[in-house]
């Protein structure tokens, strides 16, 4: 599946913008709990941060020209791995988190390696097939281990950490928010850094012309696989957090519907820039929560919002300010 031509902020260039963007993100993340301690706001904000990790890493893969419909499966792999490591093996959350992420990344090698042999709509559909296999696996196989259709319950919250003689706990909404905020800021720093490195430069070149890149000596497969594995690693981290903050897991959490939402967030925000998914995830999640008030009409209105946004801002929300500014500039230049 070919991503739309984004109006990319040229990567590999000026460091000012990415650092300012990261600083803005960090400031917003730090400011929110100063403004409200409302549990619902914090819960929604935590979900947004977790989804940001997922959409930003999905965007990394999209930037190499692949829409990976199995992204959510690696979140699931991370989630189940971490939950089982803590409840069955008995290790602490803090050990389970990195192991779960590595497990997700290791499984990304064979799955990504196989899926990336096909391209275009076939890639889209083969990754969808993989995601269904993973979901059905969690739902129907090793039911004693994964909980099967009843789901996996009783997952403990992250254990306390010693911190200069005190214990840092992670049980309240605020503490969980703080944990996810920390995880996200590290993730975002890595992804933004990557985007603005030569890796990001070559990765986005592949989306613009994979044959050209290949004949210029770019090992396109390796770049795509690297993006796949790095993305899956991030998804694994998000999954581990999800398991221990929600405390219950069900295979449908990693099915088509939540995956489709991730794609919606990413594309509505704009795939041309690393900040696209940020705009899309934040705005669309808030829109979704507002629409909850509409009960039966929620999905109807959400659908209309999607259609109109995509027709009005085909390059995503982040490309919109530039587009409006250009339109204004054209207006000015036409004046005598």
């Amino acid at each position: 599946m070919e991503p739309s031509r984004g109006l990319s902020a040229p990567p590999g260039r000026a460091l000012g913008a990415p650092i300012a963007g990261l600083a803005l993100l960090a400031a917003g993340v730090v400011a929110l709990p100063q403004l409200t301690r409302d549990s619902y706001y914090l819960d929604v904000a935590t979900t947004i941060l977790m989804n940001l990790a997922l959409t930003m890493s999905l965007r990394l893969q999209v930037s190499t020209g692949q829409l990976n419909m199995a992204h959510i499966s690696f979140m699931g792999i991370g989630a189940y791995a971490s939950a089982l490591l803590v409840t069955r093996v008995g290790i602490s959350f803090w050990a389970a988190l990195p192991i779960a992420a590595v497990v997700a990344a290791l499984l990304a090698f064979p799955i990504g390696g196989l899926a990336l042999r096909v391209t275009g709509p076939y890639y889209f559909l083969i990754t969808f097939a993989f995601s269904e296999v993973v979901r059905l696996f969690f739902n129907n196989f090793f039911v004693d281990l994964f909980g099967g259709p009843s789901g996996l319950v009783g997952i403990p919250k992250p254990s306390a950490l010693p911190w200069f003689g005190r214990a840092l706990t992670f049980t309240t909404k605020l503490e969980l928010y703080t944990l996810m905020a920390a995880l996200l800021l590290v993730t975002a720093a890595v992804l933004v850094r990557l985007e603005h490195s030569r890796f990001g430069l070559v990765a986005s070149a592949i989306r613009q012309g994979d044959l050209l890149a290949e004949t210029l000596g770019v090992n396109v497969f390796r770049y795509k696989l690297t993006a796949y594995v790095v993305g899956s690693l991030v998804a694994g981290v998000a999954g581990a957090f999800f398991a221990h903050s929600h405390q219950v897991l069900h295979s449908s959490d990693f099915g088509l519907e939540p995956m489709v939402l991730l794609v919606v967030f990413t594309v509505i925000g704009g795939t041309g820039s690393v900040w696209g998914p940020v705009a899309g995830t934040v705005l669309m999640t808030i829109a979704g929560e507002l629409l909850r008030e509409l009960h039966h009409y929620e999905s109807l209105v959400f659908g209309v919002v999607l259609i109109l946004t995509m027709l009005w801002a085909p390059d995503g929300l982040v490309a919109l300010p530039g587009k409006l500014a250009r339109r204004r500039r054209v207006g000015v230049s036409l004046a005598p």
């Binding site: 260039r13 070149a205 000596g217």
Partner: protein, 255 residues
């Protein structure tokens, strides 16, 4: 011998696009590949660079068999090419295009990119400098920050050439480098090609402009219907009755 084709063939279904083609390209020469439309010239390029697999024969570069390798591996061995329909990374600036092409020479690892080490920054800086220097030689330095998709045709052609050179290739394969250029621009391209030969590079090109081909090439190979019908110096080729026949039989040579 940098490049050698041994009995190379390619079938598309029932169509034999290239048949039993053998040819060699000598080092530090400019070698032209000509023939009427549909003669299989672009197919030959695609076979050499691994874009499509060949159905028979083999290709060797510096004594090493390269047929069967993937395009990126072939490029890594020192062969780079342009495409007939000029392809660029259209969303990128001119300099970014060159930097992507130069990644083979100076691509830093994932780890050092993340750590943002001083060595990484130093390499990035050097890569930019080299890129700018290359653009200078092709009179593109002033356009370094222009978005490639917005460039005029002539500059796009020049940029495609710059990208091929940026890979550090020893053999550059150019698919119609003069197409659509004005006389003055063709002359400039010709002098660039000659300069490349002086620097020791080997050039293999397909071109429809006969005057340009005859003017710049050391050796010319003529293809018709996937078969090699002649090879020699421009002078020999121009006098070859088979060549004249092939061209007259199909269309007026040159443009």
């Amino acid at each position: 011998m940098p490049l050698e084709l041994r009995s190379v063939g390619r079938r598309f279904g029932g169509l034999q696009a290239v048949a039993d083609l053998s040819m060699t390209v000598a080092p530090s020469t400019i070698h032209g590949l000509i023939g009427p439309n549909g003669a299989g010239k672009s197919t030959v390029f695609n076979l050499i660079t691994g874009v499509i697999p060949l159905t028979s024969g083999a290709v060797f570069f510096k004594g090493e068999r390269i047929s069967g390798l993937r395009p990126a591996e072939i490029c890594r061995l020192g062969i780079a090419r342009t495409f007939q329909a000029t392809t660029l990374f259209r969303e990128y600036t001119v300099l970014q295009n060159v930097l992507v092409a130069a990644h083979l020479l100076s691509a830093p690892g994932l780890g050092s990119a993340l750590l943002w080490s001083s060595r990484y920054r130093e390499r990035e800086r050097r890569a930019r400098e080299r890129g700018l220097a290359l653009l200078q030689t092709l009179h593109l330095a002033g356009l370094a920050d222009q978005v490639a998709g917005t460039l005029p045709h002539r500059d796009q052609k020049a940029l495609a050439l710059a990208m091929v050179l940026a890979t550090g290739a020893e053999l550059v394969i150019l698919d119609e480098p003069m197409a659509g250029l004005a006389a003055q621009e063709k002359a400039e391209t010709t002098s660039v090609l000659q300069r490349l030969r002086e620097q020791g590079l080997t050039v293999l090109l397909v071109e429809h402009d006969m005057k340009a081909v005859m003017g710049v090439c050391d050796t010319v190979t003529v293809l018709d219907h996937g078969l090699r019908i002649a090879e020699g110096t421009p002078r020999e080729i121009q006098a070859n009755p088979a060549v004249i026949e092939a061209y007259l039989g199909v269309e007026e040579p040159g443009a």
